[in-house]
Point group: C2
C-alpha cells in the first residue's frame, strides 16, 4: 500500500526552510531513492514519492506556518531546476498508474494555486537551471517565474517532440489559459525540445523575469521580500498536523473517523465516515486548541488519504459506497460552526481543505453511490460528499426515520472545480432552487429529500435491500472505461474553469495518447525514449 503521509523531518527529496514570512522549498531529489525499484531519479526528475513530499509541504505550510507569505521553490542542484517526471518510471508503469500519477501531481499543482488564491501566499519559482516538462509545469503552478539567464538554462515542454505524449500536469492549459501565451507561440514552444532561454522566454510570457547567475539569488530574495511586504500581515501561530496512522490490512483501512472496506473480489469498496462524538468547540480559539484532532479536519484528512489509496492501491475497485454514521444534528452543528468562523485563519484553512478533499472526491475515476440509512449523518460537508456521488439511495421507512441536512457550507464555501456549488450543479435547470435551498437549509426526511430532488431513489423497507443490491450489481457489470468517460461528462455540467479543463479535457487527451501504440507500443516514442531506436509511428491522424 502506498503511504501518502510524510513529514519534513523525513523528506528525502525536498528541503523546507522557513525564515519569517518567506519559506524556501528546495528540490534535491535523491537519485537512488525512487518510489519503486527500476529507475534512477536523475537530474531532479520526480516520481510519486517526490510529489507526495511536495504535496505534504504545501499542506503543512498552510496549517503549520500561517505566518508564511512567500514560498520560493528552487533547486539545490547546480544547473538543473527540474527535469520533470521520470521517463523511465513512466515508460515502465501501467496505464492506470500513469493516469493516477498525473492526476495526483495535478492535485498538488492545484493545491499550490489554491494556497495562492485563498491563503495569502505568493509562490515564486526560482528557476536556477534548466526546467523541462513537469519541471516547467511546476513553475507554471507558481505566481511568479524567474529564470536564470546564463546562456544555457531554458524552460521547455519536450513531451510532444521527445516522448510523443502531452505534458501530463496541466502544462498546455496553463500556458494559454493561465499565462495567456499566444497560441501560435505556445505551439512553437511545445514542439521544440530544447525550449526557450531567458530572453525569448520573457518575450513569449513563459517567465516573468530573468537575471544573470551572479545576480540571481539576490533578485529572487528581493522579489520575495517585496511580495512579503505587499501582502497583508500574518502573525498567526501554526497548528501541527499529527500523523493519521491508519491500521492497514488488505481488506480494511481504519482511521479514527473513517473506515475504508475493500472487497476486491466484488470490486466494491465502502467508505464510512463517522460523525463527531461531542458538540462543536465553543469558539475558534477552542477549535485551534484541538488542532489536528478537530473532527472537521481530522475526518477530512482521513477521507483524503483514503481517496488517494483508493486511486493508487485499489485499481480493480469500480464502485465506492459512501456511508456515514453519527448524530446528524451534531454534524450539522459542527458544519455550521465551520461556516460561521471563516474569519479565523485556522477554521478557514479547515474549510478550504474540506473543499479540496471534496474536489478530489468529484474527480474519482470510480463510480460513487451514497447510501443513506437510519443512523447516518449526511449533513453539511457530508451532504456535499453525497451530492458529489453519481447517485444517492435513501431508505424511505416511516418506522426508521432517516434524514439529510443542508448546512451553511453548501451555499458557496465548498465550490467544485468549475466554480459551481454542488447544489447549483444539480439544479442547473432551476438556478433559483439551489440558492433557495442553500439559504433556507433544513433537515429533510426521505419523502422531502426525494421531492426536493436531493436524492436519486428512495426505496421503502420492502424494496431497499434488493434495489441497492441490484444497482450495485448492475454498476459493477459495466465497462470501467465507459463509466469513467460517462461520469467525467455528467459530473461537470455548466461552466469550465482552468482546473476543470485540465482534469476533464487535457486528462482525457492524455489518457488517449497514453494508450496509443505511437506512445506506449513496442515502437512508441515513450517506450523507446533513451534508446538508440527511433520510434515508428502509425501516421493516421484522428
Amino acid at each position: 500500500m502506498t503511504d501518502f503521509e510524510t513529514h519534513p523531518d523525513r523528506y528525502v527529496h525536498w528541503k523546507l526552510s522557513v525564515e519569517g514570512a518567506v519559506a524556501t522549498l528546495k528540490m534535491d531529489v535523491a537519485e537512488d531513492r525512487p518510489h519503486r525499484a527500476g529507475y534512477r531519479l536523475k537530474l531532479n526528475s520526480y516520481d510519486l514519492g517526490v510529489d507526495i513530499e511536495l504535496a505534504d509541504a504545501v499542506q503543512r505550510l498552510r496549517f503549520e506556518h500561517p505566518e508564511v507569505k512567500v514560498v520560493v521553490v528552487t533547486s539545490a542542484k547546480s544547473n538543473i531546476f527540474c527535469a520533470g517526471a521520470n521517463i523511465m518510471m513512466l515508460s515502465t508503469s501501467s496505464h492506470p498508474f500513469k493516469v493516477n500519477f498525473c492526476k495526483f501531481t495535478n492535485d498538488t499543482r492545484c493545491s499550490i494555486e489554491d494556497a495562492s488564491a485563498h491563503s495569502g501566499q505568493r509562490w515564486i519559482a526560482a528557476v536556477n537551471g534548466t526546467s523541462s516538462g513537469g519541471g516547467y509545469e511546476l513553475a507554471l503552478a507558481c505566481d511568479d517565474i524567474v529564470l536564470v539567464d546564463d546562456g544555457n538554462s531554458a524552460v521547455s515542454l519536450p513531451e510532444v517532440p521527445l516522448l510523443g505524449v502531452l505534458p501530463g500536469t496541466g502544462g498546455l492549459t496553463r500556458l494559454v489559459d493561465k499565462r495567456k501565451v499566444r497560441r501560435d507561440l505556445a505551439d512553437v514552444f511545445s514542439t521544440v525540445a530544447e525550449g526557450c532561454k531567458a530572453k525569448r522566454a520573457l518575450e513569449w510570457r513563459l517567465v516573468d523575469a530573468h537575471f544573470p547567475r551572479s545576480k540571481f539569488a539576490q533578485a529572487v530574495a528581493d522579489r520575495a521580500a517585496k511580495a512579503a511586504a505587499e501582502l497583508p500581515e500574518k502573525k498567526d501561530k501554526g497548528v501541527s498536523l499529527l500523523p493519521l496512522e491508519p491500521q492497514v490490512t488488505p481488506e480494511r483501512i481504519s482511521y479514527r473517523h473513517v473506515t475504508l472496506d475493500i472487497d476486491e473480489a466484488q470490486r466494491l469498496a465502502t467508505l464510512t465516515v463517522r460523525g463527531p462524538e461531542t458538540a462543536p468547540p465553543a469558539s475558534a480559539e477552542a477549535a485551534r486548541q484541538l488542532g489536528s484532532d478537530l473532527w472537521s479536519l481530522r475526518a477530512m484528512r482521513e477521507l483524503d488519504d483514503a481517496l488517494c489509496r483508493l486511486r493508487f492501491d485499489c485499481e480493480p475497485i469500480g464502485l465506492v459506497l459512501l456511508k456515514t454514521v453519527g448524530d446528524i444534528d451534531r454534524v450539522l452543528a459542527w458544519s455550521d460552526f465551520l461556516a460561521a468562523h471563516g474569519d479565523d485563519w485556522f477554521l478557514k484553512e479547515v474549510r478550504l481543505y474540506t473543499a479540496r478533499t471534496l474536489r478530489r472526491l468529484d474527480g474519482m475515476a470510480k463510480s460513487l453511490f451514497a447510501i443513506i440509512e437510519p443512523g447516518s449523518c449526511f449533513a453539511g460537508e457530508l451532504l456535499e460528499a453525497a451530492l458529489a456521488c453519481d447517485r444517492t439511495y435513501m431508505l424511505n421507512d416511516e418506522s426508521k426515520p432517516t434524514f439529510i441536512a443542508i448546512g451553511a457550507l453548501s451555499g458557496g464555501m465548498l465550490p467544485m472545480s468549475n466554480g459551481l456549488t454542488r447544489l447549483e450543479s444539480r439544479f442547473l435547470a432551476d438556478p433559483g432552487r439551489a440558492e433557495r435551498m442553500a439559504r433556507e437549509r433544513g433537515k429533510l426526511d426521505a419523502e422531502a429529500a426525494f421531492g426536493a430532488g436531493l436524492i436519486t431513489v428512495a426505496p421503502d423497507e420492502i424494496d431497499w435491500e434488493d434495489d441497492v443490491r441490484l444497482a450495485i450489481e448492475e454498476r459493477l457489470s459495466l465497462s470501467p472505461d465507459a463509466l469513467t468517460g460517462m461520469e467525467a461528462s455528467l459530473r461537470f455540467a455548466g461552466p469550465e474553469a482552468m482546473d476543470s479543463k485540465i482534469y476533464g479535457r487535457l486528462s482525457a487527451w492524455q489518457n488517449w495518447i497514453f494508450t496509443r501504440p505511437n506512445a506506449t507500443g513496442e515502437s512508441g516514442a515513450l517506450k523507446l525514449y533513451g534508446q538508440p531506436d527511433r520510434p515508428k509511428f502509425d501516421w493516421r491522424r484522428t
Copy 2:
C-alpha cells in the same frame, strides 16, 4: 474518395418535404444501401451516407427554403424512430474512421442548433417510435422533443451498458448542459439499456411532451403550427445550391476557387483558396442574383468540402498548408460587403455558413500552417482562416511587399465554438487589443503584422525557403496523436461552450474509450455486440 455532395432528388434515406413554413424530414433508411459493404442499416440505424444526406438537408433548408420556420424530424418506419449509429459499421471501422464519423455527425447536430439559434428555425423531433443512442442524440439536437406514448416506445442511450463506449454525438453533454437533466438522473438514464418511456422521460426532462399514438400526428402538427405562428414572418425566396463538381484525382481536388493538393508520400497537403476576380456585387439584390455562384459562398462551400475530404480520405496527411492567391484589396472589399449586409437573409446565411466552415477548420485533427507569400490575399474571412492555423509564416521582403488585412468580419461575426473571436483567442493576455484591431482594421505588411502579433514567423527572403521547409519537416516528424491532443488544447483557450465541450472533452474521452480493449479488443463490448459471447473487461479503473 467520399462524395459529400448530394441533393434531395437523390436522397436514399431521407424524404424532405416543405409545406409553407413547415418542413418535414422523414428518416426512412434503406437497409440495403449502406455507405460501404458489410452491414445492413436495420431499424433506421445510420452511417456516414445517411448523415451526409441529413447535413445536406440542413444546409439546403437554410439556403433554398428561407420561408421555413419549423422543421419536423420524424421517422417513416413504424415503431422505430431511429436506432442510432449502426453498430456493425462502428465495430468494423478503423479508429480514425470512427473518430471522424462521430465528428461529422457532431458537426451536423451543431448545424441544426446553429439554424435554430440564428436562422429563425425551430426544430421539432417527432419521436414516433423507439429512439436509441444516436437516434436520441438527433432528437437532443432539436429544440422540442415529442415522444409517442404507446406503452412501448422509449428514448435511450444504451452505449455504456450495451457497447462499452460513450454516446458518440454529444449525447451526455446535451443531457446535462442543454436539457439540464439532473446529473444523477442522467447517470441512471445513461446506464439503463432500455431507456425511459414517455411518463418518466417527461418527468426527467428527457422529452418536452408525450402523446398517445392516436393523437400524436395531430399534436405534432399543432406544435409545428403554433411555433410557426410565433416566429417572425419569413417570405424570402430561396437560392439554389448548385453542385460543386470538383475534379478529383488521388493527387489533387480542383474546385473553381479552391485546390487541394495531396502529397501522401510526404503526408503534406496544400489547400489554396483563390480570391474573387471581380469587384463585390453592387447590392444584396445583385448578390442574390449570383446565387451559389457568389464567390463568398462558393469558395466556402468548396473549402468545407475539401476539409471533409481531408478528414475522411486523407488519413495519413499530418500537415495542411493554407495558401491564398488573389487581390487582397478585392477580398477585403468582398468581405466587408458581407459584413455590411447582415440584414439581408441571404448574405447573413452566407456569413453564418462562413462561420461554420471556419469552425470546421478550427476542429481539424491536422496541423495547420498558413503560408503568406507575395500575391496572397489573407483578408477578411481568409485572414480568419489563417488565424485558425497553428502557425503563420509570412515572407518579409521589402522588394516583394506582402500584406494581410483585417476586415469587419473579424469583430465578432465569425465566432469560434467557444464564443470568442479568433483575435480575442489570440490576445487573451490583452483583451483590449483584439477589440482595437477589429475596430481599426487595416492592411499590414510583414513587419507590421509581426509587430502586431498576427503572424508567428516573418523570415526574410534569404531564410524563407529554409525556415518554412524545416518547420514542415519538423512538424511531420512528430507523433500524430500527441499533435492532435496538443492542438486541441492550445487552439481553444479561454471559455468553453457546449460545442467546445462536446468536441474538446467528450470527443477526447470517446477517442480514449474507442482505443481500449474493453471496447474494441477481441473480447470488447463493441466488438462482441450482437454475438453470443459476453465481453471480458479489464476491470482496472483509470
